[in-house]
Symmetry: C2
Subunit: 254 residues, 2 copies
């Protein structure tokens, strides 16, 4: 039986996961999907993911790839996996991948959304998906500060490159805030991100919104290339990987 | 020590509650708030609510009232209650109530929101707050059908009047659908609702959206005043009491 090579888009509520990447004795997204694949196909299968989201971080558009022996058609595989997977993780799209496709190395950009519940009192309905910031935030100052991030910069101040690499130069294609009632949303797209980059950026922008850091200081921090300048890292609860983009030729639909 | 008379706006995630109204041996919103009031004030206190939401139904704008002995100011009471209450319920606004104020009888209208996740695959991130409807829905037909509900009608088809009453005449002030990606939202405001009315209406409108019931049939069903005509009641998970309105003179802010 020949193995099918597939890509899939995965959504998860990160609250009860110790992150994406498989770990001994911890419940992880990768571990749960690999268990489901083994239960459904009868074969031990390793998956690759586009981004190793931290413990508590959510995804509506994580992308994975894997090879598995399967003869019953791709829609049946999706249905079977979703039947086996727990309620907090699901395969939302699936399709055939080219032999050269890799969810991380083939990606041209990633988009993250960060959600803030900005009210004095905590919100029961947002408690699993938003950071509770009690003090009022000046959206105009936060918007101004986020514009300094757009473009190609050395982001060493805001995150760590992957193990064994030095290069912290990344290209931010877009970054901006929107608000709906007390819910503030930050969206950021970049060719790639450093470890903890979105959470360090959001923590810093919130200091700007609170008037504890002038907006222009964000440009200075960026120039410093010094991680000790970040005084506040936003918690995992508000972060969601919403999209990973690929060249059209890869045929990954979202 | 004289008792303060107060109103409060309450938000809750209904997932882990057996509804609003207090019951022996069940975890209810009313029971949790009354326990918190007793813990904070040292006095057993009964609260009244604007609407007795069912098990699993959420609220971002439930209104309650109560009288309690308290000498440390209203903001301190709110902070103390929120410190004692579990993460899935919170007091989001609080203020002094007139002696004649009653959250149910003083209300001029209520607004509910119903959320549907309309995709073939279940959503981990919407699983606690939306009904999963797999088949595509025709929003235009659903919008047309909901317009028949607007105005003053006998809604006996769509719900049961409170115990011991007969009158099922209610005035729907507004009803309509909006969509954002795969998330469909129904908002309905009425002077008052019958028991299970919103869920019966949504279940019926979804049949219209699926092409299993012509939109015009909703007008016929309404005229029939016969509860056996409702073939589908939407589940509690998608329902949220978002607002209760009062005459400006009551001073209830939301």
């Amino acid at each position: 039986l020949e193995a099918l090579r597939l890509w899939a888009v995965v959504e998860y509520d990160g609250t009860d996961f110790a992150g994406f990447q498989v770990q001994a004795r911890e419940r992880t997204v990768q571990g749960e999907i690999e268990h489901a694949l083994e239960a459904v196909t009868g074969h031990s299968t390793r998956i690759a993911g586009a981004g190793r989201t931290d413990s508590g971080v959510h995804a509506s558009g994580q992308v994975i790839s894997f090879s598995a022996p399967w003869r019953h058609g791709i829609p049946v595989l999706q249905r079977a996996l979703n039947a086996v997977l727990a309620a907090d993780v699901a395969i939302v799209e699936i399709g055939p991948a080219r032999g050269t496709f890799h969810p991380r190395y083939s990606a041209t950009s990633r988009t993250y959304r960060y959600t803030i519940w900005n009210q004095e009192w905590r919100s029961p309905l947002w408690r699993r998906t938003a950071w509770h910031v009690k003090t009022p935030l000046d959206m105009e100052h936060m918007a101004q500060a986020s514009r300094y991030l757009i473009g190609t910069h050395d982001f060493a101040t805001f995150g760590r490159p992957p193990e064994g690499r030095e290069d912290a130069v990344r290209t931010v294609l877009g970054a901006g805030w929107s608000a709906r009632d007390r819910v503030l949303t930050f969206e950021i797209e970049a060719n790639a991100f450093l470890y903890r980059m979105v959470r360090s950026v959001v923590g810093t922008l919130v200091l700007v919104g609170q008037g504890r850091l002038p907006a222009v200081e964000v440009a200075e921090m960026l120039r410093a290339r010094d991680r000790s300048q970040v005084r506040q890292v936003a918690p995992a609860v508000g972060l969601c990987l919403t999209k990973v983009s690929y060249p059209v030729s890869e045929g990954v639909m979202q």
